[in-house]
């Protein structure tokens, strides 16, 4: 059996992971500590939290959101004293979401974190399976993303949260930056701000994992013994994001650091990309909207009751 080099941080234990973009070789303890430190640094760098923030955490049951919840719990127990409330959205995807719900429920029980479950059916009177079955020009992810953002915001407001933390990783940030470029939508770079924007009607969205590569949230989840969901989302293959992900993964494998470079370039563009759009009120649902009718109501053709 091969032996691994000694950890480049503690110089004592055998390493289990090589970090190509930094050259470090880390043992499990030093690796986990480095991830927690990376999250803490991002929170501080972008002023994501105040003392005593009430943080709603979007938890899907995947390894990213479970990693986020676990690290925030540790950090907040040790430092800020913020309150955490886990929120899970049931989009109504048969098989896929059912497994995730049981994983989240067990995780929240283990971590003693309050858990709220909200569903598309409750707010939109429909499910993703029903939407996906309809004739539609857009991919399922376009619907799901918009509706999930709305329902998470509603749920965060309902629990009086002043922050909404999501498990977006460095990979997600770099993919979004690339997609914005590919779609010619430079104005959207502003939405990549990991600290989120203060905007009337919206709970401020923060992304504490913004500087943690997805490979490393995965390793963290594995080393911590989190459950891995077996059922993939049946609609995931429709997303253009998959192409961006595959491209960036290949680039990262051959040119380590590509994800960080892309992310940092997007952050430099973000301030200049601030939207000039004026927020109005959707005439159907009354929520904040850029247009006369908000994107959610356009997508589900919700009729005013």
């Amino acid at each position: 059996m091969m032996s691994a080099p000694t950890c480049s941080k503690c110089h004592q234990k055998p390493s289990v992971y090589y970090r190509p973009y930094s050259g470090e070789r880390l043992c499990p303890n030093c690796f986990n500590a480095s991830i927690k430190e990376r999250v803490q640094t991002a929170i501080n760098r972008f002023n994501m939290l105040d003392h005593w923030s009430r943080v709603a955490v979007g938890v899907s049951g995947g390894k990213d959101s479970l990693t986020l919840l676990s690290i925030l719990k540790e950090i907040e127990d040790e430092t800020h004293g913020s309150e955490l409330i886990a929120i899970t959205v049931d989009e109504g995807i048969r098989g896929y979401r059912d497994e995730a719900l049981s994983i989240v429920e067990r995780a929240c029980k283990t971590m003693s974190i309050e858990w709220k479950l909200v569903s598309f059916t409750d707010l939109f009177d429909t499910t993703m399976d029903e939407i996906a079955a309809r004739e539609r020009a857009l991919g399922a992810c376009s619907f799901c993303g918009v509706l999930r953002r709305r329902i998470l915001n509603e749920a965060a407001k309902n629990v009086d949260a002043d922050r909404l933390a999501t498990g977006h990783t460095l990979d997600d940030m770099a993919q979004s930056a690339l997609l914005n470029l590919l779609r010619g939508d430079i104005g959207k770079m502003a939405s990549l701000d990991p600290a989120g924007a203060k905007s009337p009607g919206f709970v401020r969205r923060i992304k504490p994992l913004c500087e943690v590569p997805e490979r490393e949230t995965t390793l963290y989840a594995y080393l911590r013994g989190f459950e891995f969901q077996a059922t993939p989302c049946p609609y995931a293959g429709e997303a253009m994001r998959g192409d961006a992900r595959a491209f960036l993964n290949r680039m990262e494998a051959t040119r380590p650091g590509t994800l960080f470079t892309t992310y940092n370039a997007a952050l430099r563009l973000a301030p200049a990309a601030t939207s000039t759009e004026v927020m109005r009120t959707c005439r159907v649902c009354g929520e904040p909207s850029v247009g006369d009718v908000c994107r959610v109501c356009q997508l589900i053709e919700k009729k005013q009751g």
Partner: protein
């Protein structure tokens, strides 16, 4: 030689398969093992495409990027864990 493979999350080919015990030729490495797994479960081919998937492959508790990557040699009773990276948040 006999190698034990644990498949996590979406890398499980069916809900009842969590583990494989494979007989591999002497001198096999991680690449040999991946080819054997995909040979048994062709549906995993795309997900185990090492060039673009970025999955973690853990041999004896060590991720193979910290060893010799796909050329990491396997021995009798090696334990390999395949951990999916791409699955959404």
């Amino acid at each position: 030689m006999r190698v034990r493979v644990r498949l996590l999350g979406s890398l499980r080919p069916t809900s009842d398969v969590k583990e494989l015990n494979l007989e591999l030729p002497e001198g096999s490495n991680v690449s040999t093992l991946i080819k054997r797994v995909v040979g048994i479960y062709p549906q995993l081919g795309g997900m185990l495409d090492i060039s673009s998937s970025g999955n973690l492959i853990v041999v004896g508790g060590v991720e193979v990027g910290n060893l010799q990557g796909l050329k990491t040699p396997l021995g009798e009773d090696s334990e390999v864990v395949l951990v999916p990276v791409t699955h959404g948040g």
